[in-house]
Amino acid sequence: MAERLLDLLLAELPDAVVEVGSYLGDEIALVHRDRVRDVLTLLRDHESSKMDMLVDLTVVDYLGQSPRFEVVYHLRSTTFGHRLRVKAGVPEDDPTIASVADLWKSANWSEREAWDLYGVRFEGHPDLRRILMYGAFEGHPLRKDYPQNARQPLVRRPDAPPTDELTTRLRLHSHDRRVE
């Protein structure tokens, strides 16, 4: 249905696209991480695509693969009714990608959620804070290496594991580098 979007991408930005494909009728474009803003701006503004709606922005953690993370943008055009899925790989040692919060307003909270749960930092986001977890929470809980039994309660419990032990375990498993 949206093959012409892939053709458009390959014609306009051939060096930004890694791979295109289709699965069950949904077109997918895998693009380079540092060109993701160019691709998304083109898709939003070009008169034959007009992707004016960012339906969802999420992250997949492929633990053990390289690049480890994949940021997924689900786009839709309310004018033409077509959809496109844009993906960009994000490596583990530098989990950053350009923010698109100025292109679509809906990206603001989605990027905060992706940062909160996966620890992918969106450069240029106006207000990158946690959105679901509390400020005292350490680590990013939807990463596949987040320890399943780690609890970080806001009410101290006598039988809860000590914070130091928990922190050490989280630091061991998580490759999140905190910005002080």
């Binding site: 990158l128 399943q148 609890r151 101290r156 006598p158 905190r178």
Partner: protein, 196 residues
């Protein structure tokens, strides 16, 4: 003359407990799907009014039975603790359903494994959700506990009552190492939490 007895000899404490157990004012702390089942328990078919506990008060300051209905997540635990601390003595707590009792099938970073991690719980009602009969059974167990003076917070009356010191309710209870149970706001939401 065989007059019927015009008085019943009893202890004042037992009389007070008897009065309290038939006049429970509930505060439903309803967070999840168990609340639907609680509504049916309150309704005319099962009729919790028979036990004198039919009238939910939506202010913890006017209630003496806190019913924790549903899953308690870690973010919500300080709220539950605060609601409990706002209730006046004597007060009791019922954990309604497995999520409030143990966390249920949620075993992850979000869910508190049971309301008793945060507040003292008197009676646990299992079930997902519990049948209204189970709730009534739990309520009767609680009433027996109140009559036996075995609730988590009972009020002493009569000449043998011991005076308890007035504690700062905001910082209750205090852990053995002297720290408060609830993290204060700066600890929950650190100022540098922007890109942690």
């Amino acid at each position: 003359m065989n007059q019927p007895a015009s008085y019943i000899p009893t202890k004042l404490q037992e009389a007070v407990n008897w009065a309290q157990k038939y006049s429970l004012f509930t505060y439903p702390f309803a967070t999840a799907c168990c609340a639907m089942e609680f509504m049916s328990t309150l309704g005319p078919r099962y009729d919790l009014a028979r036990f004198g506990a039919e009238f939910p008060r939506f202010s913890p300051r006017q209630a003496d039975l806190l019913i924790v209905i549903g899953t308690i997540v870690e973010r919500q635990a300080p709220v539950l603790r605060r609601v409990y601390d706002q209730m006046a003595d004597p007060k009791w707590v019922m954990a309604f359903g497995v999520c409030a009792s143990t966390g249920g099938f949620y075993q992850n970073y979000t869910v508190t494994p049971g309301a008793d991690q945060v507040i003292p719980v008197d009676v646990y009602v299992p079930g997902c959700p519990p049948r209204p009969e189970q709730v009534m059974d739990g309520l009767m167990v609680l009433m027996n506990r109140i009559q036996d003076h075995r609730g988590s917070v009972q009020r002493e009356v009569g000449p043998t009552a011991t005076a308890t010191p007035i504690l700062d309710r905001r910082r209750l209870p205090v852990l053995p190492d002297g720290t408060s149970m609830v993290l204060d706001k700066e600890e929950r939401m650190p100022k540098d939490g922007r890109v942690r």
